[in-house]
């Protein structure tokens, strides 16, 4: 049996979905839309029932592209997702609005279960619902109550599902037929008629005792306060970033070390050969390159889920909306963009909450312009190389100022590009806010845990294979070259190097020669004419190509090219880079070329993992490709202008 799970947003629908299916969830696609299709299996004593979670909506008629899936599936019995029965979650504290969707569902004529959820909140609002009367009004529905957040009602819901039989012919509105998707006038009449009947019926069912000022209202007076509102949001952000930067590095270093250890040990255990090389230098580091992102994704989503579960996230949207609107974005873009300062991957994945397609696409397109943590090693080494360590105005450290400038440049460009994209991207939908602000609740850690688990799983399995594939290609390009060329280069090194060199030094020279003569080395050399106007030579060219795997690889590639042991001795690398001369005897790394390179890294889309995630979130290669092209063009011209101005 297949059951469709439906309900308004903020009714506890996903809590109930988690309650029923636990970790037996699968994320797939609905055809034609970018919303995920979450399916779970509910095992009862004698059967297993498929539960399909539909996006939360206020009506069966779609008001956004993502909501269309509800209408498309339920209006078409031939659809592969067409359910055998409906499970509609209704917020007991707001029966009137919730019953609109429920009565529409009731009139579809499918077997139906009404779950009256959040009865505790209704009580807190001094509202009581007369269930017996409700049952009288909807004789064909099985009605149960639950308080899913504290785990109450699970068994009642399962029993209700098990008792589903054939549907009788009662309707809420007799001979009601489903309107066409475009028939807005008809839909409006229908909504009004339903509300009229619902209002009549509710006088019997809901008793509102004396109205009390809710706790949420009192909290809101502080959290959306003109001064304290922003202050508290700022403090929360600082705390989150502090956590991510402090604690994500611990597991990340561990993962880095573990995969390095595994590669090295397998390499010495297995017989030497191409297959061993592929495994130890291509596949294992490639998997490591996927796994390394998990700590940041998990931590960031842990916090996002906490904020969302508590109800605070909608207040962030509320206080930030006016600031984001001139840029073609709304308050919901704030969290994805700010998350991207840690890492664009969870940032882009969290753009899921933006219901408007255009605003979501713009947010995803500009998010990687926010300077992420992977750029820090690149910025640091270049700043140390070309920016003098002195003070300006007597107290500001110049190097720190430049670093701040790079972050500011990224942020400002993200906002400006958003504004431009707002004009370019056409859509039929009109952006709106109209958002429900749920009352504050204690977060449910089970929901938080399941969300984190699901996001990590989606990243590993959907984006991970693309990342792995690209990293193996990059490895092959860096390890192989045209036949004979590498061997000749190696022999040259052996001949030239005197016996005074230690084994280590010889190895480093060999690695450098190999990289120079690999396919990537040849590519780096052949793009030299293109990047020369930016002040770069072929060595930088090679590092630009290799750092497509991840920006920080730039430093490692530079170390290999300059025959310095990577990660151990950064000052030696800086010394060698500083001494590097062009053919005419002038240094390669000047203020102009160094700054140009920094600006290049602010803009360029040098991250295949982000591309893979954009592909997964937009469900098409179109947007990641557009991103590579526009960010690449931006990087090139901005770097070029920087070089011209400074030289």
């Amino acid at each position: 049996m297949k059951i469709a799970l439906l309900g308004n947003p903020n009714t506890g629908k996903s809590t109930i979905f988690n309650l029923l299916t636990g970790l037996k969830q699968h994320v797939g696609n609905f055809p034609g839309v970018t919303v995920d299709k979450k399916t779970g299996i509910l095992k009862t004593e004698d059967r297993s029932i498929e539960v399909v979670d539909f996006p939360g909506t206020y009506s069966i008629y779609p008001r956004s592209k993502d909501e269309e899936v509800v209408y498309n599936v339920l209006s078409n019995p031939a659809d592969q997702n067409y359910p055998d029965a409906l499970l509609v979650i209704v917020d007991a504290s707001n029966l009137r609005r919730n019953l609109l969707l429920f009565t529409q569902m009731y009139d579809l004529g499918l077997p139906i279960v009404l779950v009256l959820n959040m009865t505790d909140i209704a009580e807190r609002k001094n509202k009581s619902v007369n269930i017996e009367k409700l049952k009288e009004k909807f004789p064909d529905a099985i009605i149960v109550t639950s308080n899913a957040r504290v785990g109450l009602g699970k068994n009642r819901i399962i029993e209700a599902i098990e008792s589903i039989g054939t549907r009788k012919e009662n309707r809420f509105i007799e001979s009601s037929i489903l309107k066409e998707k475009e028939d807005f006038l008809g839909q409006e009449e229908e909504a009004k008629e339903r509300f009229r009947k619902i209002d009549l019926l509710l006088t019997d069912i809901v008793i509102v005792n004396e109205k009390v000022e809710s706790k949420s209202n009192k909290i809101d007076r502080v959290l959306v306060h003109p001064v304290f509102g922003f202050l508290i949001f700022g403090l929360i952000l600082i705390t989150i970033f502090q956590f991510i930067f402090t604690f994500a590095t611990i597991p990340m270093d561990f993962i880095d070390g573990a995969f390095g250890y595994l590669s090295a040990n397998l390499d010495s255990l297995l017989p030497a050969g191409e297959l061993t090389n592929l495994l130890c230098q291509g596949i294992i580091p490639g998997i490591g390159g996927v796994v390394i992102f998990i700590p940041q994704i998990a931590l960031l989503f842990f916090f996002i889920a906490l904020l969302e579960e508590s109800g605070y996230l909608s207040r962030v949207v509320f206080i930030m909306d006016r600031l984001m609107r001139p840029l073609g974005l709304n308050g919901k873009s704030v969290v994805p963009l700010l998350s991207s300062v840690a890492c664009a991957i969870p940032g882009i994945m969290s753009a899921r909450t933006i219901s408007d397609w255009k605003e979501r696409t713009i947010t995803i397109l500009v998010a990687p312009l926010m300077s992420c943590s992977a750029r820090i090693p690149v910025y640091t080494i270049l700043i140390a190389l070309v920016i003098p360590n002195e003070r300006v105005f007597g107290f500001v450290n110049l190097q720190g100022l430049v670093l701040f400038g790079l972050y500011a440049l990224g942020t400002i460009s993200a906002l400006v590009i958003a504004l431009i994209l707002k004009k370019i991207i056409k859509t039929k939908e009109k952006g709106f806010l109209l958002l429900e602000m749920p009352s504050y609740k204690n977060p449910q850690f089970k929901n938080v845990g399941i969300l984190v688990f699901e996001k990590v799983k989606v990243f590993i399995f959907d984006a991970g294979k693309i990342i792995l594939a690209i990293s193996i290609i990059l490895w092959a390009l860096a390890s192989y070259g045209p036949s004979g060329r590498m061997q000749m280069a190696e022999q040259n090194v052996m001949k030239m190097s005197s016996s005074e060199l230690s084994v280590d030094e010889k190895d480093q020279l060999l690695a450098s020669a190999r990289l120079e003569n690999s396919y990537i080395g040849i590519m780096g050399k052949s793009i030299e004419p293109v990047i020369k106007p930016l002040g770069y030579d072929w060595k930088i060219g090679i590092s630009l190509i290799t750092s497509f795997a991840a920006r920080e690889v730039f430093v490692g590639s530079m170390a290999t090219i300059f025959a310095v042991k990577d990660g151990i001795d950064e000052s030696t690398l800086i010394e060698k880079m500083r001494k590097e001369l062009k053919a005419d005897g002038t240094p390669v790394f000047t203020l102009a070329s160094g700054a140009s390179l920094m600006v290049f890294y602010v803009f360029a889309m040098q991250c295949m993992a982000t591309l893979a995630v954009v592909k997964r979130e937009t469900k098409s290669w179109k947007w990641p490709l557009i991103q590579v092209v526009y960010m690449g063009a931006l990087a090139y011209f901005a770097a070029w202008i920087t070089f011209i101005i400074l030289s």
Partner: protein
């Protein structure tokens, strides 16, 4: 006739009509329908958007969206 965006915080009003626009049907489906009573709770720090209480649930909407909703003061009903 006043529109919802002109109502100050803390006041309760009655919806008279919702102006024609693409958003009309969406507003209606959220329960913003003729005859409904609502109260304005608070506004965001920059004065926009605003939050209203309708039937005990809190909705936030931009001033441009609130402008579509024509309202009457409860007291003026007599």
């Amino acid at each position: 006739m006043q529109t919802l965006n002109q109502i100050s915080n803390g006041q309760s009003v009655l919806i008279k009509a919702v102006s024609n626009s693409e958003l009309k049907i969406k507003l209606i489906e959220l329960g913003l329908i003729e005859g409904q009573v609502l109260s304005v709770l608070f506004r965001a720090p920059l004065g926009d958007p605003m939050a209203i209480d309708i039937d005990g649930s809190v909705l936030s909407l931009r001033l441009s969206e609130a402008e579509l909703i024509q309202v009457d003061h409860l007291t003026s009903l007599g």
